[in-house]
Amino acid sequence: MLFNTIQFVIFMILVVLAIELFRRNKLQLVILTLASYIFYYFDSGLLFVLLLFTASLDFFCGKKIYESKSIRNKKFFLLISIIGSLGILAFFKYANFTIDIANHVVSIFGIAPPLKLLNILLPVGISFYTFQSMSYTIDIYRGNLKPADSFLKYMLFIAFFPQLVAGPIVRASNFLPQLHNKRILIIGKNLKMGLTYISWGIVKKLICADNIAPFVNSIFTDPIGLSSFHILIGALAFGIQIYCDFSAYTNIAIGCARIFGFTFLENFNKPYFARNPSDFWRRWHISLSTWLKDYLYIPLGGSKKGKVRTYLNLMITMLLGGLWHGAAWNFVVWGSYQGGLLAVHKFFSDKINFKNFFSKFISERSRNIFSIIIAQYFVFLGWLIFRVRDSSHLLYSIKKFIIVDSFSNISEIISFSLQNKFIIFLILLFICIHIFSYKIKKVIERINSLNLKYWFLYIIFIILLLLVFTPNLDTAFIYFQF
């Protein structure tokens, strides 16, 4: 059930009504949990059993880890939890990829591929809820968290529908305390804030991402023969598309949760103003990057085991982060590329104090702008790897992105821009809004703080925008596939 459909609007209204109807009743949690599993059933059918299994296993293991006196027992239950959760993820997400690799390796030696691909469906949101569930048992093992009071609360934590299929990856330490001694009250303040978040998200998804998507597809379906101008504008458009698509989902998730009184942490913080690769990962998909840092990079040793090991840890973390996105070579390459960028940046920033070095030549403001441009060049180069699956298309696109061919044919560029006026307008509009939201912090909160009559005008404006500019084709969220 996509957030941008009438079905979801009806579903959400029904859940809100049910919660309101049982306002003073303990059934509220049951309703919300049931609604979440029904929501998941709409998308995944009987595969929702896997969600139930993961929830049951990790709830049980979490309790056992907490109750166990010996470290050995704690480790044992943690291991069961991790093997159980990762085992399901590995089977459903990576089995065919592994078989494919095995067959390729064997075929190098002239042997016919012995293994057939399995006929398995990828359960929606499995990567998100698996990581969410794993963090719960690991946090209990580390002594940072107490187990959930009840299985019901844990089931709700794992499956809470706003963030179930595409994040953000919520930590139990953030969510479970919000369930303690609490009735779910739908209050005006939260309703207003929630609707503001949702409206902002829907505009980003339906007007920006969905209108740009066909343009991006037209460029990258077969980029061979296109000029650097086309590839550069295609990469720029895809960067905007994926940001608007994914951050829109997060906004809607945060908004829906807020209506029920829950607060999720932000998942994006103006990523295209990042000044270096580390900064980018502090701003992009924050819930995943912090998860990777806390549960992978630091356990691997982080930066505490020497320089070479630090670079290696960065590479491993990002490689696995890339693989988390999907079982495909382009995600492996993209993850490695991101790891490489982080390692190279770490190497140079350890050697050179960029701030002091450049302050001799240029002002701080110019240095910041320069850093942003350089960092974003590499970010958008990375988006090419993320978007273009065919290797020959990818190599061609990268070549055109790096070695910019002649821009002499200005008339062709003008005619291309005129043919795609609306897309160019959207790209420019996005850049302006991104700059505006960078300068004027907390745009959504500011809109929310508007007097009711101005907020009312804002809502009319947003609905009218949606009615006028939503493309007629329904498009799923990009991160649904992960």
Partner: protein, 348 residues
């Protein structure tokens, strides 16, 4: 608590009012901005006008002859000129740019109800190509004239994709029309540029969409060639939109359905192979030409329908581009065709 409850109720009420106001504003945009564009500034309005035309012709007891087909029919046939050749027949050019038999199938019931004397169906290689797609928008815009649930035969012809467009509810069509806001704006900008900057005057399709005699788009110039035509023809490597395969396809089935239904209802049908520029004809594969001829011969025999072949009757002097005649060509072809059709109908 009371304060919160009041705020909540207020927000819900404001949301509902905002929805109503926004929908009202949207409906104004569609009514006063998009609909006029579709009717007057785009050829998309013609599809709807053709259905309105059929309704006006029910039971008028005139000897009507309809000409169906794509832009070649619309541009190349002067129905007014044919009227003058024999006053006892009333000729109507119902050609529609880019149309294919699949689109024309939707009109069959309307044609039958209006009882014409004969229906002339103009075809060219594009009519049966798998690579020529009539825009889905046109199916959406005529959806209010089609009731697939009551017409089992049409559901056999149209696959699910087409059915989705043809079965569009009024509300869905109302929402669908938003996609024309952008072209409508583009058209308005062109008009403003003409008005204030003196650029070329944009063509008004109002008359073109409503005319069923001889009104053409700008293509009908006195030029023997569109200056760009030979250049485009020379550069073009693939002519896939003209490729007719030996296999049956949705367009061929639709064409056969049209001829069959009209014949069953005792309406005379005549197939016309539309004139083609010899320069373009040279580039089209013989295999494609043979497949086209074999298919039409089969239909002709099966339903006793004559074929009038004008494919290579005219030199390139009479063409504006690949398959649209210029003014000289239009006059000559209309006269030749008109006389031949009168003969065929008289014989019948």
């Amino acid at each position: 608590m009371n304060l919160f409850i009041n705020l909540k109720v207020k927000i819900i009420m404001l949301l509902v009012i905002a929805l109503i106001i926004s929908f009202f504003l949207y409906s104004l945009i569609i009514k006063f901005y998009v609909d006029p564009y579709l009717q007057n500034d785009s050829d998309l309005g013609r599809g709807e006008k053709i259905f309105e035309f059929y309704k006006t012709k029910n039971n008028d007891n005139l000897n009507k002859i309809y000409y169906l087909g794509h832009s070649s029919v619309k541009e190349d046939i002067d129905a007014g000129l044919i009227d003058k050749l024999n006053k006892s027949f009333d000729n109507y050019n119902l050609g529609n740019p880019a149309s294919t038999p699949l689109r024309e199938v939707a009109e069959v019931d309307y044609i039958i109800n209006s009882r014409p004397k004969a229906v002339v169906v103009g075809v060219s290689y594009m009519s049966f190509s798998n690579n020529w797609l009539f825009p889905y928008d046109q199916y959406a815009l005529i959806s209010k004239y089609i009731n697939l649930q009551e017409n089992y035969e049409l559901t056999q012809i149209y696959n699910e994709t087409y059915q989705e467009f043809l079965e569009m509810s009024k509300l869905k069509l109302f929402m669908y029309k938003r996609k024309f806001i952008y072209p409508a704006t583009d058209s308005k900008i062109k008009y403003l540029r003409y008005k204030f900057l003196g650029t070329e005057k944009p063509y008004s399709y109002k008359k073109y969409n409503e005319d069923f005699k001889s009104e053409s788009i700008l293509l009908q110039s006195n030029l023997s060639h569109n200056p760009k035509f030979l250049e485009i023809l020379g550069d073009k490597e693939s002519f896939h939109e003209y490729f007719v395969s030996s296999e049956t396809n949705i367009e061929k089935s639709a064409f056969e359905f049209i001829i069959k239904k009209l014949s069953e209802n005792e309406i005379k049908t005549i197939i016309v192979k539309i004139p083609l520029n010899p320069n373009l004809s040279e580039k089209i594969l013989n295999k494609s030409k043979n497949n086209f001829d074999i298919f039409l011969d089969g239909i002709s025999k099966e339903y006793d329908t004559p074929i009038l072949d004008y494919t290579l009757n005219y030199s390139d002097f009479y063409f504006y581009d690949g398959h649209h005649l210029n003014n000289y060509g239009k006059r000559i072809f209309s006269k030749d065709l008109g006389l031949e059709i009168i003969k065929v109908i008289s014989r019948a």
